[in-house]
Symmetry: D2
């Protein structure tokens, strides 16, 4: 299962949802895939995610969100039990310094193989890195909510969160921000889904070692 | 006429050439276009450019180059009479603090309508900005060489230089650099070519005013 | 109590220790202050921190570390139970994907008033922000170790972690990195110590609201 | 002679002027120094600069300006014949795409030894680099105006332009911008003045070679 959030704030689209739509149109081979849009609302988004998990009964959940100023796909490794919003969600709520789950743990680690995913992305020629913060707005909210659902209700599901850069058009409306074409971001999500499905134990390498060595760059000649 | 340079240094490709190749395969409508690869060599690149101009007799020359760490298409406004290379070119030459044309002027301004081009790019949803430095390596060398050829030998040609970000694969091999898909960069070059052909007087607006107003962002819904 | 780590890797100094040394020479008024240097070693640093806490019996512990590429003082809000080192510590150890405290919680939140501290820093004219990741090297290691000691052995102590940018000389040896003078960083630590001592309940404001309003900028005329 | 501009726009101070004030209070040894404030106005600033040059009859003029988002001291190598202002100057003028000197050259190179200055700054532990664009607002205006005065009226004077980062307080009022303490920036200007006075032929080295080698970093232990 793949999720993204509806557009929020003054965005006319959500880059993560654009990528997910393309994956829905052309999913990875041999993968039964449901693509779900969540509301941009604290609380409601997790309730809706739970409903969809009950309906779809997925093996794997990859939630995605728009990571506006990031230059690359970031595979989130940790989600924290904190809502701290600079702006309001689409229902007008703006929680500040509140726990997502009162009495819940301070954080959860992703159950995705974050380094294997990052390595597979870089090998595929898609800029990517492991991230240790998903912020404190709706992306972290959903990442934490998903991990909490897994920990408390759905122990057989694996899941995690991936941030998608702005689309080129979104970057064009701002001041020299990096961006990624939705086609590239969609391909990234296909790589993450395939890697997560086929990898049970994560690679134990440094983040820097997930990159191709300069000696291997020549292998890209064929994929350019 | 559209030019780009062959790959240099430890790059297995040149992002600007990749974009130009795609434009050659699918040029803008109603435009007779020659796409030319220049050698990555101080001196030789300008000599080759001159030879191609004599052969093609173009109305317009847009030269392009790889602008590695830039997040957007940058339309260069000025080229300076200076070679100052951090590394060697493909023939092993590394000029330091040398004039490109001894006794030439300190700089030339582009004869492209740089703001009209930038505005057209942003309207098309492609991140872009006007730049006031093309560096001091081969990109500036060619930008200056082209402007000098126009000023001294080919007064009827208009021309300028455009920087193209890394491809995603190039960014994936480095540390969190921004990138742009070659398909997007190719579309950018088509927009620049069409705008330059149809615009005789540049727009006189601030750089910031080349961006869409937030009110107009909704118009993007249809183009997303 | 104030702590910093000895220089590590190819650094001839540690910017956090330089700031702490200046605070030791000229501590805030009405504050009994011990300044302690910790070894740059996984495990040993926390063991040493525990020994010093037992010796000093502090009310407050502010641990600090070098945050090389950051432009401002970052007050860390969370520390995660993970060692994942890109390079070796000063004893040659490089843990990858290991828990700091096996069977410990995934993370701890700081018990410093992070927003009150940030607001006080900005009011004092020192660039600062709240951070939600201390990385996965020795800084996060100590931040987590300190929080775990507080949670398990020293419930009456409050404590947290603060990142200090490179010194100007360290930035001068690298490629256009931001920096902060040690005198400014030392003043920042004095502000953090004083604010943490006098604030029992953190401010509940958005991060952006910790900044002075443009209308209040004029008040800076007197402090410039 | 050292010049800086009065505060402009919504700035309550000008970081370059703050640095110049400190140099005026404590100038380099063996240097007769006049420090002059110029109005933040297109046209007027150059007229005032000319008047001061006639009054002071300096051997050397170093003009400075606020380079808001830059992390380091930037020694400008080139100034272009173009006013293109994103905002108005202090007299309400906002020239767009206008020549500074109609019929003047497209650009002038600095007559400061820009690499020797940069090398001396880095050796002194102050972050610095050579820059090839001073923008198109008042800084470039003054840099070009000074070079034009030298070229046309005062051939015995050497001069150039240096950008100064925000002060820490200015950065504290914005979103995570880099900054430099005024004391450090003032020391930088003393280094530039002394180097320019004592260097008749610029160093011919790559920009990267202006940095200390890692082997020499240990020499900093004594200057930290």
């Amino acid at each position: 299962m793949l999720t993204a959030v509806e557009p929020f704030g003054r965005n006319y689209l959500n880059s993560a949802w654009e990528a997910c739509r393309l994956v829905a149109e052309s999913p990875p081979d041999n993968l039964e895939l449901e693509v779900v849009q969540l509301p941009c609302a604290f609380g409601d988004s997790i309730a809706e995610l739970r409903k969809e998990i009950l309906r779809v009964k997925p093996e794997l959940v990859v939630s995605t969100g728009q990571g506006g100023s990031r230059p690359d796909i970031t595979v989130e490794r940790v989600a924290i039990n904190l809502n701290d919003a600079e702006g309001a969600d689409n229902k007008g709520n703006q929680p500040i310094d509140e726990a997502i789950v009162p009495d819940g743990p301070a954080a959860y680690f992703s159950s995705l193989p974050v380094k294997a995913c990052t390595k597979a992305l870089l090998k595929a020629g898609i800029p990517a890195s492991v991230s240790h913060t998903a912020g404190t707005f709706l992306c972290n909210h959903i990442a934490f909510g998903l991990a909490h659902l897994i920990a408390t209700e759905f122990p057989d599901i694996r899941g995690g969160f991936v941030h998608i850069p702005f689309t080129p058009a979104q970057a064009a409306d701002r001041d020299r921000r990096p961006s990624m074409a939705s086609a590239t971001a969609a391909e990234a999500l296909r790589v993450v889904l395939a890697t997560a499905m086929s990898t049970s134990t994560d690679h134990s390498v440094t983040s820097r070692s997930t990159r191709l060595s300069p000696k291997s760059w020549l292998s890209r000649r064929s994929q350019k």
